[in-house]
C-alpha cells in the first residue's frame, strides 16, 4: 500500500499505542504496552497485510522490550512494534504464533536467551542452547556474567 494510505490507516490503532515515532521517512516505531501487543500485531498483519519479518528481544535496564518488525514491500517502509514488558521478575507476553506460525522459532529463541515467557505458545521447547545448559539461566540478560 502507498505511504499515505499506510499513515492514515495507522491512526486507526492509535488508541492502543503509547506513541508513534517516525525516525526516518521509511522507519516507523509503534510503542505500546505488552498487553496490547497482540491486538496491534493482528492489526498490522491481518488488517494492513504487512509482511512479518522477525522479532527482537531487548533487555533494557528497567524493563524488557519485544520488537516485532513488519515490512511494507511496496514502499520499502519498515514498521516496528515496540512492546514494553514492565515486570522484570516474571516477564510474559502474549505469543503471536497462533496467528503467525512463522514466529514459532524466534519466540522459542527469545525464551531461551532472555527468559521472556510467551503465553499460548504451542511448542515451547529449547531451541538454541545446548542440551546440558542449566535451566533458568538466561545468558543474554544483563546480570548474567559468564
Amino acid at each position: 500500500m502507498k505511504q499515505q494510505e499506510l499513515d492514515s490507516r495507522l491512526a486507526e490503532i492509535r488508541d492502543k499505542l503509547i506513541d508513534i515515532e517516525r525516525k526516518q521517512n521509511n522507519r516507523i516505531f509503534l510503542l505500546c504496552e505488552g498487553e496490547n501487543s497482540r491486538a496491534v500485531n493482528k492489526f498490522l498483519f491481518e488488517g494492513l497485510g504487512l509482511r512479518f519479518v522477525i522479532v527482537t528481544g531487548i533487555d533494557s535496564e528497567h524493563c524488557f522490550e519485544v520488537l516485532y518488525h513488519y515490512a511494507n514491500d511496496e514502499t520499502g517502509c519498515f514498521v516496528t512494534i515496540k512492546a514494553f514488558i514492565r515486570d522484570r521478575e516474571h516477564p510474559e507476553i502474549e505469543s503471536i504464533t497462533p496467528m503467525l506460525p512463522a514466529a514459532e522459532w524466534i519466540e522459542r529463541e527469545i525464551h531461551d536467551i532472555l527468559g521472556i515467557g510467551f503465553r499460548n505458545h504451542p511448542n515451547m521447547r529449547r531451541l538454541i542452547l545446548c542440551d546440558d545448559w542449566p535451566e533458568g539461566v538466561y545468558p543474554l540478560r544483563k546480570e548474567v556474567k559468564k
Binding site: L129, C130, P139, K146
Partner: protein, 139 residues
C-alpha cells in the same frame, strides 16, 4: 607416520562455525584449487580419514561430539584447526557457549594429538594448502 606423507584423506568437522571457513574448505575441492591433484580426498567417515579439518569455535554442544569423532578417527592422524575460531576462540572469547578452543577439547581425549593451526578469518584456500603442506613436511 610415513603413511601420512602422500595422499591424505580428510574429514571435515564443523563445531559451531559461521560457515565461512567451511565454504573455503569446500572451495579447495572445486576445480579452481583442486586439491585432488595432490591426492587429498574428502571422505564420508572419520574411520577412513588421515586428517581432520576442524572449523568453528568449540561450542559446548559440539565438544563431546568432536571428542567422539576424534576417537573414531584412524590413528595416526593430524588435526588441522582452520581459522581464527578453531585456533583459539577468535572473536568469541569469553562467550557463554564456548567450551574452549578446539585444541583444548582434543587434548582432553589425547594429550599427544598432532594439531596444526591455519590462521585467518577465513583462511584463504592458498593459505590452507600451504598450511597442510608445511605440517605434513614437518611430521
Amino acid at each position: 607416520m610415513k603413511a601420512l606423507k602422500k595422499s591424505v584423506w580428510v574429514f571435515h568437522v564443523n563445531t559451531g562455525a559461521c560457515n565461512n571457513c567451511d565454504i573455503e574448505i569446500v572451495n579447495l575441492l572445486t576445480p579452481r584449487f583442486d586439491v585432488e591433484r595432490l591426492g587429498i580426498r574428502l571422505v564420508g567417515s572419520p574411520r577412513h580419514a588421515d586428517a581432520l579439518l576442524v572449523t568453528g569455535v568449540g561450542t559446548r554442544q559440539a565438544a563431546k561430539r568432536l571428542q567422539e569423532v576424534y576417537r573414531q578417527t584412524a590413528k595416526p592422524c593430524v588435526v588441522f584447526c582452520m581459522g581464527a575460531c578453531a585456533g583459539g576462540t577468535g572473536i568469541f572469547e569469553g562467550a557463554y557457549h564456548v567450551a574452549g578452543p578446539v585444541d583444548k577439547i582434543i587434548r582432553e581425549v589425547d594429550p599427544n594429538a598432532i594439531i596444526a593451526y591455519v590462521p585467518g578469518c577465513p583462511p584463504k584456500p592458498e593459505a590452507m594448502i600451504s598450511g597442510v603442506v608445511k605440517a605434513l613436511a614437518a611430521i
